[in-house]
């Protein structure tokens, strides 16, 4: 459909009506580029949105990213696994769905039948349940079953809202995703919680990896004896593991380089705040040795609060606002695994 010849023809056709050739060419090369890129993205379409602290805008981001992708013609499923605090439906302005993940866990109803319409074309929602399900009651095998079924929702973008905290279930879901997105505000508590969250996730990933290779005891023993070995941080643990057991070096290096986190800064109030994103990227690399990408930011705007109160999604109702544009920018960055471009002028 998007062959070069076609584009040229279309541009030529429009030239007779519109003299602005440049605009036309730009528009088409852009979409050509997108179509081309999308073919490459076969996997990598399970996105998890977390970050540790509550109230940073995880649910708002989940709904907005979902709407942006759906409006761009992609099939999207949102999953609210913020069990105990599921409220994603409110951000979409719909009532709490009657079917929820409880039905999946208790009755084995497939995920595809739990998805409800959201009022946005191409986008459906699967919700957690506030009343009947305590997150502690989910067994490990149930969790694995859920992950397996999520991965089977193929040819769709699955956007998972994790909720706050660093509970094991939350972290496992975060690790399961193809794209791990951490949301934070430019303030010290959110930043602190984010470090904690990412560190926990990394530690768990390393432990799981070493377990599959049969070295489970080593890392746990080392961590228990951390005072004796003078280990204060995760980085020092990794270093002393490498020193003591040289054969673990390759495994650990691979785990570290595979671990990638995308950062999104929410509620920024000055251009100075944007720098926090690139600073954290640097610190993650130099302090934990992991790759963090600063995908983008959203500035503070009352329109967000207003749209939530009015129960009408910002991406639909204030689609021309700066916030909506910024959401579009970082969603595309996430899609194509790009970094935020920061211009100084």
């Amino acid at each position: 459909m998007y062959s070069i010849k076609n584009i040229k023809l279309q541009c030529w056709g429009r030239l007779t009506h519109e003299p602005n050739l440049l605009y036309c060419l730009e528009e088409h090369t852009d979409s050509f580029h997108k179509v081309d890129k999308l073919k490459e993205i076969k996997e990598g379409n399970i996105w998890a949105i977390g970050g540790g602290k509550g109230g940073t805008g995880k649910t708002f981001l989940t709904s907005s990213i979902g709407i942006f992708l759906a409006k761009a013609g992609k099939r999207v499923v949102l999953i609210d696994v913020d069990i105990g605090g599921a409220n994603l439906h409110s951000f979409l302005g719909i009532n709490r769905p009657k079917k929820s993940l409880t039905n999946f866990f208790e009755m084995g109803i497939p995920l595809s039948r739990l998805a409800v319409k959201t009022g946005v074309d191409n986008m459906s929602l699967i919700t957690g349940d506030v009343h009947s399900l305590a997150s502690d009651s989910i067994k490990f095998t149930q969790k694995l079953k859920l992950f397996r079924h999520i991965m089977k929702l193929n040819k769709q973008y699955v956007i998972i809202d994790l909720g706050g905290g660093s509970h094991n279930n939350t972290i496992d879901t975060f690790l399961m995703a193809d794209k791990r997105i951490a949301v934070l505000e430019p303030e010290i508590i959110a930043i602190e919680n984010m470090y904690h969250f990412v560190k926990n996730a990394l530690f768990r990933k390393i432990r799981m990896a070493l377990r599959t290779y049969g070295f489970k005891e080593i890392v746990e023993h080392m961590w228990e004896q951390r005072e004796k070995h003078n280990i204060k941080s995760l980085k020092e643990l990794i270093e002393s593991l490498k020193e003591s057991f040289s054969y673990l070096g390759d495994i650990l290096d691979k785990e570290l380089s595979d671990f990638k986190v995308y950062l999104v800064l929410n509620k920024i109030r000055s251009s100075q705040d944007i720098l926090i994103g690139s600073s954290m990227k640097s610190i993650f690399m130099k302090y934990l040795g992991i790759n963090a990408q600063f995908a983008g930011y959203i500035e503070y705007d009352d329109a967000v609060w207003r749209s939530i109160r009015e129960r009408r999604p910002l991406m639909l109702n204030y689609s021309l606002s700066r916030v909506a544009k910024e959401i579009g920018v970082f969603t595309e960055n996430l899609l194509y695994e790009r970094e935020m471009k920061i211009s100084r002028s």
């Binding site: 600073s279 610190i283 690399m285």
Partner: protein, 186 residues
């Protein structure tokens, strides 16, 4: 310096190997500031990320910057030797007021305050060094035609993080005034 070493230095500064000199300098300034001050992003991990760790990082950053600059200077042997310190936190947008007019000497001043050598500008903007010199010295009689001059000025101004429109407008106005004067003389 081997390619491997160069790559390592670029990695320490967290930039890609095809970065311009200005990007190298910006990365260096940014990292130096980040790891030498107690900011909101550092303090939550202050207990695990000690002053000693940070000092090591700062030393690495310092070394990487120095080595990269040396290697780039080696590539351009005709350049004058470096003077003053590398680091300059000078921000042209902060000091410059809209009222002032951008003459060649003002551009030169700004460039020198940023601690940037002429050959660095030349390397990044691909404008010949002699031409840059002539622009700064306002040797109007040996400058190219106005259209070309405008292009060079835009290029140079954006390299110095100035507003290209304003710089071009000011400079061209001076150029035209000189041209008028020349006509009258004849």
């Amino acid at each position: 310096m081997s390619k491997k070493e160069l790559k390592k230095y670029f990695e320490i500064l967290e930039i890609s190997p095809d970065s311009t000199i200005l990007e190298i300098r910006n990365a260096y300034n940014r990292l130096k500031k980040l790891y030498s001050t107690d900011s909101v992003v550092i303090s939550p991990i202050a207990d695990e990320f000690s002053k000693k760790d940070r000092k090591e990082i700062l030393e690495q950053v310092e070394e990487a910057f120095k080595k990269l600059m040396e290697s780039l200077k080696g590539r351009h042997s005709s350049s004058p030797s470096p003077t003053g310190d590398f680091a300059s936190d000078y921000d042209p947008t902060a000091e410059k007021t809209e009222e002032e007019s951008y003459s060649g000497s003002v551009l030169k001043q700004i460039r020198e305050k940023m601690g940037i050598q002429l050959f660095e500008v030349s390397l990044d903007t691909k404008i010949r060094m002699e031409l840059l010199e002539r622009i700064e010295d306002e040797k109007f009689d040996s400058l190219p035609q106005e259209v070309y001059l405008k292009g060079h000025l835009t290029n140079y101004a954006s390299y110095l993080l100035l507003k290209p429109d304003k710089v071009t407008q000011d400079y061209i106005a001076r150029y035209r005034a000189w041209k008028e004067g020349e006509k009258e003389k004849r």
